[in-house]
C-alpha cells in the first residue's frame, strides 16, 4: 500500500517535471531511429516540447479549447495547453480509465469523456496549472462550460470568444472586436505588452502550414490512399488543433507533405490492397486500443479522408490579425447551420472518390452527432452507403467491440 503511494508520487513528480520531457526526447529519438514515420516523430517531439514548456512555466501557460485559434497563443508569446488533446493522448497511452472514473463522481457519465478524462487529471493534479484560460463558444456547449468550471477550480481568469451562428459584417465585427478585447485583457491580466509583430509572424507561420495542408489534402485524393485515416484522426488532427502559428506546425506539415509526395509518386498506398474508399465523419475516433481500423483493413477498405482535416478557412492576413482570425472562426463548417457542413461533406465525397461513409458517434457529443441523421439521409439519397458507428472516444468501457464489428462489416457488405 505504502509502496504504491510512493510509486504514484514518483510518477506524478516525473509527469510534472519539465526535465522528464527533455530527457525523453533523446531516448525516444534513439528508440525510433529505425522508424521512418518522420511526421509522427515530429508530433512526438512537438508534444514533448509543449509539455516541457507547460511545466517549466517560463512563459504564461494558457489553457485553450480545441478549435480556438492557437495562433492567438503563439502570437502573444503564451504557451498553449490543450487539455482535450492531452486527454486523447492519455487515452492513446491506455491511461484514461482512472481519470474518467474519478471524474464520474462529480460529472454525469453522459458528458464528453475527453472532458471527464481531463477533469480527472486536473483533480489528480497531473496537469500544469493555467495562468489564464481561453476558449470559444463553438463547437460545443460542453467545452464552454467545462473550461469555465476549470477556471473556477484553478481560480484563474477565463476569456471566451463568442462565435456567431452565421457570417456577415455584423458577425465579423463582433468577433474581431472580441479578439481585440481578448488580446488587451489577457495582456493586462498577465502583465505583458502585446507585440503585434510577433502576432503577424504567428499568422505567417500558420499560413505556411496552411499551404502545406492544402497540398496534403490534394495528395490524399490519390488512389491508392497514401495516408491512413486512423492517423489523420490522431496526430494529424492534433497538429491542426495545437501547432498552427508555431514553427513546429510548418515543420510537421512540410515533412508530411514531402513524405506523401514520395508515396504518391511511387503509387504506394497505406493498405496492402485498397478496394473501397471511405470517409470518416466526426473529429475523433476511439484512441484506446480497438479493432476498427484492423477490421476495415481486413476488408480492404481504406479511410481515405476525415472531415476534421477539411481545410475550411481562407489564408490569413498577417497585417490584420483580428479580422482574419475572425474570418477563420466564422468559416468553421461545424459551427452554425448544418447546410455548410453537408455541402463540405458532399464536396469531400466527390474529391476523394468515396464509396461509403462512417459517422462516428461519440457518446458525449451532441453538436456533430445531432446532425448524423440528416447528413446520412442526404448521402443515402445519392446512393452512398452510410453508417453511424456508436462508441466513445476516450472511455474504453463505453464501447461494444461485437456491435462495432457487425456495423462495419455490414457497411462493407452493402458496398458489394
Amino acid at each position: 500500500m505504502e509502496n504504491e503511494r510512493a510509486r504514484e508520487k514518483l510518477i506524478k513528480w516525473a509527469v510534472k517535471s519539465p526535465l522528464t520531457y527533455r530527457l525523453l526526447r533523446p531516448v525516444l529519438d534513439l528508440l525510433t531511429r529505425k522508424n521512418d514515420n518522420e511526421p509522427f516523430k515530429i508530433w512526438v517531439r512537438f508534444l514533448l516540447d509543449a509539455m516541457n514548456n507547460s511545466y517549466a512555466r517560463k512563459q504564461p501557460v494558457v489553457w485553450m479549447s480545441a478549435f480556438t485559434p492557437s495562433e492567438i497563443a503563439y502570437g502573444m508569446g503564451y504557451v498553449p495547453f490543450m487539455p482535450e488533446i492531452i486527454a486523447s493522448v492519455v487515452t492513446y497511452l491506455g491511461k484514461s480509465k482512472g481519470p474518467i472514473a474519478l471524474a464520474n463522481a462529480y460529472a454525469s457519465s453522459d458528458l464528453c469523456s475527453f472532458h471527464r478524462c481531463a477533469l480527472g487529471l486536473v483533480m489528480e493534479d497531473y496537469l500544469p496549472k493555467p495562468d489564464l484560460i481561453i476558449s470559444s463558444s463553438y463547437l460545443c456547449e460542453g467545452a464552454n462550460k467545462f473550461f469555465h468550471y476549470l477556471a473556477s477550480y484553478y481560480r484563474c481568469p477565463h476569456l471566451m470568444v463568442d462565435a456567431p451562428y452565421r457570417g456577415g459584417s455584423a458577425a465579423k465585427k463582433y468577433v474581431a472586436d472580441q479578439l481585440k478585447e481578448l488580446v488587451d485583457k489577457s495582456s493586462r491580466l498577465l502583465g505583458l505588452v502585446p507585440d503585434m509583430s510577433v502576432m503577424s509572424q504567428a499568422l505567417e507561420l500558420s499560413n505556411k502550414a496552411r499551404a502545406y495542408i492544402a497540398e496534403i489534402n490534394r495528395l490524399r485524393r490519390s488512389r491508392p490512399s497514401p495516408f491512413p485515416g486512423s492517423e489523420g484522426l490522431s496526430y494529424l488532427a492534433g497538429m491542426v488543433f495545437y501547432s498552427l502559428g508555431s514553427k513546429w506546425g510548418v515543420d510537421f506539415f512540410k515533412t508530411l507533405h514531402l513524405s506523401l509526395e514520395q508515396k504518391v509518386a511511387k503509387g504506394e498506398g497505406y493498405l496492402p490492397e485498397e478496394k473501397y474508399r471511405l470517409l470518416w465523419l466526426h473529429h475523433i475516433r476511439p484512441y484506446y486500443k480497438n479493432e476498427i481500423f484492423k477490421i476495415l483493413e481486413e476488408k480492404k477498405a481504406a479511410v481515405s479522408f476525415e472531415e476534421t482535416n477539411y481545410l475550411y478557412w481562407p489564408a490569413l492576413e498577417p497585417s490584420k490579425p483580428y479580422e482574419s482570425l475572425a474570418d477563420k472562426i466564422i468559416s468553421n463548417i461545424w459551427a452554425g447551420s448544418l447546410e455548410r457542413r453537408v455541402h463540405a461533406i458532399e464536396e469531400m465525397v466527390e474529391e476523394y472518390d468515396i464509396d461509403g461513409v462512417i459517422h462516428f458517434s461519440h457518446w458525449g457529443c451532441r453538436q456533430s452527432c445531432g446532425g448524423a441523421a440528416v447528413v446520412g439521409d442526404v448521402l443515402k439519397q445519392k446512393g452512398l452507403p452510410y453508417i453511424v458507428l456508436p462508441g466513445d472516444g476516450a472511455d474504453p468501457d463505453n464501447f461494444s467491440p461485437g456491435q462495432t464489428r457487425t456495423r462495419l462489416e455490414a457497411l462493407i457488405e452493402m458496398l458489394g
Partner: protein
C-alpha cells in the same frame, strides 16, 4: 365573491383562447431569449413550442444521446403535430436546439423558419450584436408575413408584455393564498399556457387572479420550502410530487415558467431595449458566465428562506449537467442540501424519483431545517 374562479376554470378559459389565437397567424418559438414583442408588434401570435411528453420521440432522426425535449419536439413536428403553425423561430440556445432547427427544416419544413443567434456573453459588444440579429429577425418577419413593424408598435408590445411580467411576478409572490391556496405547480401550468395565449386574454386572467388573491390572507404552511432550478421540465409532475410528499416549491428558476425577463424599457430604440433586457435577464446555464446565475439563485434562496434545492436536468442537457458541480459547490458554502434529478421528458415521475424526493424531505426533517 362571484369573482372567485377556480384555477381549473381559468386554465380552461386560457386553453380555449389559445386554440383560437384571436385569428392571428401562430408562430412557434422555443426559448425565453426570444423577444416575443417583435412578433406581437407584427400582429402575429407567439406560440411557445412545448410538446406533450406523450408525443412521439424522434428516435432515429437524432442520436440516442440527444436531449429528450429536442427529440420530442422533432417527433411531434414530423408526425404533423405542428402543422397549424405559420412559422417557427428556434434559438441557438444549445447544441440540441441548433440541431433541432436543422432536422426540422430537413424533415418537415415550416413555411417560415428562422434561427435567432443569441450571444453567450453579456457585454456592450454582445448587446449591440444581438440588436443586429433582432433587426434581422424583424426584417425577415416583415418580408415573409407582409407586415410592418414600427417603433410605436414595438413599444406598445413591450408595454403590454411588461404588464404580463409584473402581474406574473406579483402572482408568484401570492403563492399560498386563496382557498385552496395556489400552488407552485399550478403557477407553472398557468405560465406555460400563457406562453401561447393571446396577451390581452392572459393579462385579463392574471389581473383577475391577482385582484382576488391579494384580497385574501396568506395561508400558513408547514411544508418544507424548496427552490427548484434546472433545465426544461416535462410538465409539472415533479412539482406535484413534491407537493404531494409534503414539500413546497416556494421559488423556481426553471423553464418553461419563471425564467422570464422582468422589465423592458420602452424607448426610441426598442430593439436595443429588447436586446439589453433579454441578455440581462436571469441567465440560463447556456450562458458563458455561471456566476451570475448562481448569485441570482443565492439571492432567491435567502429571500425565499428555502431549506433545500432541487436541481433538475433533462438527460443529455450539457449546459445544466456541466453546471451542476458549480452549483453544488456554491450551495455547500451556504450549507444548503441539494437533490439532483435527471429526467427523460416522459411527463411522469417514476418510483425511483418518488423515493429520492421523499428521502430528501426526510433528510430535511432530520436536519431540523
Amino acid at each position: 365573491m362571484q369573482d372567485r374562479l377556480t384555477f381549473k376554470e381559468i386554465l380552461q378559459d386560457l386553453a380555449k383562447a389559445q386554440a383560437s389565437g384571436e385569428g392571428k397567424p401562430l408562430v412557434g418559438w422555443t426559448c425565453t431569449y426570444l423577444p416575443v414583442e417583435i412578433l406581437e408588434a407584427a400582429g402575429l401570435q407567439p406560440y411557445r413550442i412545448l410538446p406533450e411528453p406523450s408525443s412521439e420521440k424522434a428516435d432515429g432522426y437524432l442520436d440516442p444521446n440527444m436531449c429528450p425535449l429536442v427529440k420530442t419536439n422533432l417527433g411531434k413536428a414530423i408526425t404533423g403535430g405542428y402543422s397549424f403553425l405559420s412559422g417557427i423561430i428556434i434559438l441557438n440556445t444549445c447544441d440540441g436546439m441548433r440541431r433541432l432547427y436543422d432536422a426540422w427544416r430537413f424533415y418537415c419544413p415550416s413555411p417560415f423558419s428562422f434561427l435567432l443567434d443569441v450571444p453567450k456573453t453579456v457585454t456592450s459588444l454582445s448587446v449591440s450584436y444581438f440588436k443586429e440579429r433582432l433587426k434581422e429577425l424583424a426584417t425577415q418577419v416583415e418580408k415573409h408575413f407582409k407586415v410592418e413593424i414600427t417603433t410605436d408598435s414595438l413599444n406598445q408590445a413591450i408595454e403590454e408584455a411588461n404588464l404580463t411580467r409584473s402581474l406574473s411576478r406579483r402572482l408568484i409572490s401570492l403563492q399560498g393564498r386563496g382557498a385552496p391556496p395556489v400552488k407552485h405547480s399550478e403557477l407553472l401550468d398557468l405560465l406555460s399556457l400563457g406562453s401561447r395565449t393571446p396577451r390581452s386574454v392572459f393579462n385579463k386572467a392574471l389581473e383577475k387572479m391577482v385582484r382576488v388573491l391579494e384580497g385574501e390572507p396568506a395561508g400558513v404552511s408547514n411544508a418544507y420550502r424548496l427552490l427548484l432550478t434546472g433545465s426544461s421540465l416535462d410538465g409539472s409532475a415533479l412539482v406535484r410530487l413534491i407537493e404531494e410528499l409534503g414539500g413546497e416549491v416556494t421559488i423556481s428558476d426553471i423553464c418553461p415558467g419563471t425564467r422570464f425577463v422582468d422589465y423592458v424599457e420602452p424607448s426610441a430604440d426598442p430593439l436595443f431595449s429588447l436586446s439589453h433586457a433579454y441578455l440581462h435577464k436571469t441567465a440560463c446555464a447556456r450562458m458563458f458566465d455561471s456566476e451570475s446565475r448562481i448569485s441570482a439563485l443565492k439571492e432567491s434562496l435567502l429571500k425565499s428562506k428555502a431549506q433545500g434545492v432541487v436541481y433538475f436536468s433533462l438527460k443529455f442537457c450539457d449546459p445544466f449537467l456541466y453546471e451542476a458541480p458549480f452549483l453544488e459547490e456554491a450551495l455547500r458554502e451556504l450549507d444548503i442540501p441539494v437533490l439532483f434529478l435527471e429526467g427523460e421528458y416522459t411527463g411522469r415521475v417514476g418510483g425511483g424519483v418518488r423515493t429520492r424526493v421523499q428521502a430528501f424531505l426526510e433528510m430535511l426533517e432530520k436536519n431540523g431545517k
